[in-house]
Subunit: 261 residues, 3 copies
């Protein structure tokens, strides 16, 4: 548990540093304002890439060789969790927008989630032959991740399209990219955070450059690049620091830390 707490203590200043540079003009690196209302970049992609940095230094060979298990019941619980995330996503994205923009923001988020949900069903069948329940529990939420940057600044049609693209991207990422990336990097992204929060988050941040008329495109691009760099570097350093306090030889199992019966 000490390592979880240490990880939290290392993550929070990294996150705040990035927000300070991107939104508050810290270090004067940004040439203009950055658009990311619902946090596609600074929350989702940042967290996912930070995590990628951490696992790069933490995963051991034995962990890598152990299959991550799931069964019918655990997948049903995942679906319950996804349902709750789906339902509360509009209020998450609308939390910081002006009251008069809440309705349009909420509808945009719902449409993006609908687009991603439908796209995930279709993409999952095309890629796997059947519907992967893990795809639905994850990629169906990618629309919410990707619409974050533009949720209060675009129209309903664009929101729906962003959702569809995010669902496809996330499903392809789960079914095709993740296995290859894991083989290449020899790391395990247990929950597929990169597939759900990483790539769709980046997509959402870049999408803002094309769908918002009066956006400062170079600021948007530079902000994304800065976020990627800070997240990866901070994640790598955090992982190195955590490793000092021990690396696991055996893969994690619940009973090690929980009294669950």
């Amino acid at each position: 548990m000490a390592q979880y707490i240490l990880l939290a203590i290392l993550f929070i200043p990294s996150y705040m540093l990035n927000e300070w540079i991107i939104f508050n003009g810290g270090l004067k690196l940004m040439p203009g304002s950055f658009t990311d209302t619902g946090g596609s970049i600074v929350i989702h992609a940042f967290g996912a890439l930070f995590g990628l940095g951490v696992i790069m230094t933490m995963t051991t060979k034995k962990e890598f060789d152990t299959k991550v298990e799931s069964d019918e019941t655990s997948n049903k619980f995942s679906m319950v969790g996804s349902m709750v995330l789906w339902l509360f996503w509009p209020s998450f994205c609308a939390a910081l927008v002006a009251p008069e923009l809440i309705p349009v923001t909420a509808v945009n988020v719902v449409l993006a989630l609908c687009g991603a949900t439908i796209a995930t069903y279709v993409a999952s069948v095309l890629l796997r032959g059947k519907i992967g329940i893990g795809d639905i529990a994850n990629a169906a939420l990618a629309g919410g991740v990707a619409i974050g940057s533009t949720c209060d600044k675009t129209n309903h049609v664009v929101a729906f399209i962003i959702g569809i693209l995010a669902g496809v991207l996330s499903t392809v990422s789960f079914a095709v990219i993740q296995p290859k990336l894991q083989e290449k990097l020899k790391v395990i992204d247990t929950c597929g955070v990169l597939n759900l929060h990483g790539f769709p988050g980046l997509m959402g941040g870049f999408a803002a450059m094309f769908v918002i008329n009066d956006i400062n495109r170079s600021a948007q691009f530079i902000g994304i690049v800065i976020s990627i760099i800070i997240a990866l570097v901070a994640g790598l350093i955090s992982g190195k620091l955590l490793s000092v306090f021990g690396r696991r030889a055996e893969p994690y199992f619940d009973a090690e830390e929980f009294i669950a019966d």
Copy 2:
């Protein structure tokens, strides 16, 4: 999956046709305005009767003879789903009412749900000897279905009574009417949609004729009849069209379409 998509494509214009006739004076069939804020008729009853039309042409003998299975765990997941529906029902009904009517609408819906929940417990014990968990997971929501038409136009006492009546109606429908109806029509209503959305929805639409003082009673009655006819006819036609793309001999099982482990 192609048949699900086709069904969606057939359903949406049917639903829109009905709304256009009922609310927008399409075809000049309505003699006045129709009261259905939360969609007891145009959402719940319409959907249930459309589904009834579809299954009339789709159910095969082998499917009919196979028992629909549930177990303790699947019933617990149903209860989780019902809980979430219960909690969000007030906001569903209040979504389109004027801001100043939201509190009274929300309280009316909560009271209707409470009435239905209590009534379902009592009715379930009286009809089955014990509490049927399937009754609770379904009929407890019937108050939300039935209060739809009048949720922003009635008082708390009437809302509570509508909820109680809907809970009793839905439980009787699950325990008594459904087995007889299935035997007679040789169709299977897997989720009991007719018991939860069909009958309580119709009850709610008719209840509006008695509990709202300045309602146009003939318009309300005609609107309900039109909705029933369009739903059943559109459902039958949709079912026929779907059948062209094949009818199942074997009952559905999850693993056929899902990778769930």
Copy 3:
């Protein structure tokens, strides 16, 4: 089932009597106004102590000797329920506050819940060696219970501290106090209501005396004492009355009252 209904009929007037005395000046027992916006005292502690009164007269020896069972799946469902309570707690506490105080109230409740959740993890590991999933499912909510009295009248730092203290108190109560209290009183608090709603509720009510500047301290103290007395006495009387209609020899099991498969 008759006994449940009787219990509800006995509880409601007790609850209303207490509210009438505490908030409406009934019997002229209160020397000033009582602060309990989110019901730490009049809802949580009152209900818990009422229940304590009831079980004191109801628990039989055989029930007492039977272990309350839970397993991995039932604990996961508990966590789902806790998650839903956690998510809706801010709106529960903010339901009756003035619109302009809703944001500060909601943030206070979220911070109190965060404090309790973190404190529960730490306290559970310190007391049990591992994280008790039952502690997390319960004590993590203690922050919401304890912040009730002061949710709209304190600042974010104090709210977070109240949450931490409540989480620790509740976990200690589950792990240390409950076993001793059960042995002493020979009663079973099946769901640990005293640990989650009782002690943290009282703590929240007393905390108001110290963290709100312009509070009437003697009124707050007297109100809490009155609530404790009414709850216990009404619970004891209700338990005695229920016992007239029979006491169980055997512990309760689901299948006795539910058709769940």
